[in-house]
């Protein structure tokens, strides 16, 4: 069946007249963006709404991995199989966004699992690894493990290795949004759904507030709730319950690779923690604690930081000599289960058609994890299409995401032609794939704005002009602005000028945007400032004098 709303609607901001769509997807995390893409590729008209920025919630606070989850082998092999299989699809359609992450899993005396148990788990996991184009594990003696990573504790008695894929979740989310828009979807960030429009027992649309505070309505034949941990709040608008057991997870972020290998460690309470080596930085995490607080204000506690460092100090004694740049915190939308420790909860997901509860036209996707986002989106889209009587199959497993339509040229060639450093070309390609050159099609050319990453002014301007960047925090997510060692001290003012120039900000708006960003960043930096961090903070304060940052001190 063809769409009943065949006309394609361009992105329009501040619309006040009701618009009409086949489907409205609430939530611009990876699942919501994936659903919008899936349904758009099937020919349906889609409206995607996100109250913050794309991937600004749980997706962005993840461990940045597309992994199969060997941990789930203890609970449910099917979750591991499905997750691994879908990881294989994601790796194929998003080649520019993924890279190999190789773990050394050291075993120490008195660890919960001895080396034979660990290797058994890896042998089983190896059966699934080909599904995601990963290599099998290796077993290392204590000496070999320390040759591979000399920073490991002398107490290590052996190790096994395991391969996963790293990914930039912010770009993965945006690539899905971009492709959805390219196929006719309308996608609005910084747009909050404030109510569901109901007609008797049926949800027929949404009422939302845009970033300019204007209120609009949109009609839709089906509304999808893909808001992760906010799902109970949104389903409450329809008068139906969705039960989750939200779990908070934090990471410590180091602005460089600590090791080329990622390393796992056992925490004081026997949990498995990970130090993950990404392209140019390291994530150390994560915690997993029941969360009962405000989902819009998730703070990192110094105790949580110490909990993580304590665990890693045992396997990697020099960890406290490294200077963290910041922390991240997010809340997992884990499905509800009573009488289980947080760590024992599966990452299963559930597509809920609320018609069974007497509310037609309303579907919730709950639970799950980043690695399975595409499959979650496909199953949710299948449910939506069944409701609409729309006969069409998902093609997201094989259709490349934007930037993967063809092979990338060598970065040195791109760098030579565009007059940018080769390292900047590598980073540009990692975000835009084969479309990288298009981004540099700007009079500013290759002048660098953020030297740590590095990012060109042209790319930042492109992000503001074409990728819905509306603030410096959005630019952090879209192009990794300020993600490097200087944490923005050297670039944030200039970045405000570039973005403000594109968006028509006044001088005071540019100033305010920088101040707002620095204050927001402070919340993530404060829990990890050691002496070196404080010294850097002093320097940054000096560099940004005039910003009146007293509130951040």
């Amino acid at each position: 069946m063809a769409s009943v709303f065949p006309g394609r609607t361009p992105i329009i901001r501040g619309v006040s007249a009701p618009s009409a769509h086949d489907v409205c997807v609430i939530g611009g995390g990876v699942t919501g963006a994936g659903i919008a893409r899936d349904l758009s590729l099937r020919g349906l008209s889609v409206l995607l709404l996100e109250k913050g920025d794309w991937g600004g919630g749980t997706s962005g606070a993840s461990s940045w991995m597309i992994h199969g989850g060997p941990r789930y082998l203890e609970f449910d092999w099917e979750t591991t199989r499905l997750s691994t299989q879908d990881a294989g699809h994601i790796v194929t359609i998003a080649r520019n966004l993924v890279y190999r992450v190789v773990f050394i899993i050291p075993v120490l005396p008195h660890d919960r699992n001895n080396i034979e148990r660990m290797e058994t788990a890896m042998e089983v996991y190896d059966r699934f690894q080909p599904l995601k184009k990963a290599h099998p594990h290796r077993r290392l003696t204590a000496d070999e493990a320390r040759q591979a990573e000399p920073g490991l504790s002398p107490d290590v008695i052996g190790a096994v290795t395991m391969e996963e894929w790293g990914v930039d979740p912010h770009r993965l989310v945006y690539a899905n949004v971009e492709d959805a828009v390219a196929h006719g979807a309308r996608a609005l960030n910084h747009t909050k759904v404030i109510d569901l429009i109901r007609d008797g027992g049926k949800v027929i649309g949404v009422r939302y507030r845009a970033s300019d505070r204007s209120i609009s309505e949109a009609r839709a034949r089906v509304v999808v709730n893909a808001t992760g941990p906010w799902s109970p709040e949104v389903s409450g608008m329809a008068g139906v319950p969705v039960r989750l057991r939200p779990a908070k997870g934090i990471h410590i972020v180091y602005p460089h690779r600590i090791s080329n290998f990622s390393i796992s460690a056992e925490s004081i309470d026997g949990r498995d923690l990970l130090m993950v080596s990404h392209a140019g930085f390291t994530l150390l995490g994560t915690t997993d604690d029941d969360f009962y607080g405000d989902l819009d204000s998730v703070d990192v506690l110094e105790d949580e930081v110490d909990y993580l460092l304590q665990a890693f100090e045992r396997v990697f004694p020099s960890i406290r000599e490294y200077r963290p740049a910041r922390t991240t915190a997010g809340v997992r939308p884990t499905l509800y289960k009573w009488r289980r420790y947080e760590d024992e909860l599966s990452r299963e997901y559930e597509v809920i058609d609320h018609a069974a509860q007497g509310v037609e036209g309303f579907v919730t996707i709950a639970g799950g994890k980043l690695s399975m986002y595409r499959k979650m989106a496909e199953e949710t889209s299948d449910a939506v299409c069944r409701k609409l009587g729309h006969q069409s199959r998902s093609t997201t497993a094989t259709t490349p995401l934007p930037g993967n339509e063809s092979d990338m040229e060598s970065p040195s060639e791109l760098a030579r032609r565009c007059g940018i450093p080769a390292l900047a070309a590598i980073k540009l390609q990692s975000r835009h794939g084969c479309r990288a050159e298009k981004v540099l099609d700007d009079a500013r050319g290759g002048r660098l704005v953020c030297r740590c990453e590095p990012i060109t002014e042209a790319e930042l301007a492109y992000a503001a002009r074409s990728e819905q960047v509306r603030s410096l925090a959005d630019a952090f997510r879209r192009v990794s602005l300020t993600a490097g060692p200087c944490a923005g001290a050297a670039c944030v003012m200039r970045a405000g000028e570039v973005i403000g120039g594109e968006l028509g900000w006044s001088a005071s708006q540019r100033f305010d945007s920088v101040r707002e960003f620095v204050r927001g960043s402070w919340l993530g930096r404060a829990p990890v400032l050691g002496s070196a961090g404080w010294a850097q903070e002093e320097l940054a304060q000096g560099a940004m004098r005039g910003l009146e940052l007293n509130g951040a001190r």
């Binding site: 203890e74 449910d76 290796r138 003696t141 040759q147 591979a148 490294y322 390292l423 590095p454």
Partner: protein, 131 residues
Amino acid sequence: MGRADSLAKLAWAYGIHLTRRRLTRPRTQLEDLLHTYAPDGIRALEPAERERHPHLVRCINCGLCALAAGRMGKTRLPDIASSYMRLYARLGEASTDIDGGEPDFEAAASACPVGVPLGEVAEIVRRMTAG
């Protein structure tokens, strides 16, 4: 049920694993590991490099070393320490950025407020970009 089933299958796999370990002679797998991941730029650090590593990655890109010593090839000196010295796995593709130029690393290092040994950093970055 799912969990009981999973644990039973793991227990069976454990039995098979122990039997195999008794019947076969272990062989070293380190070379295999390093060879497998060399194309991805995942390599082992030298012990000496590891010991010095926390100092090598301290740069906060304040720019003072650039005032003292300028550029290495086409690249500003602080960028060598803040941008290139992040153990990018793909640094081998960026050798053209630092070809040529031999700045005064001693002067640069003495200007550094956080004590980055810029000469050492430059040496490592050169090695990484050489592939």
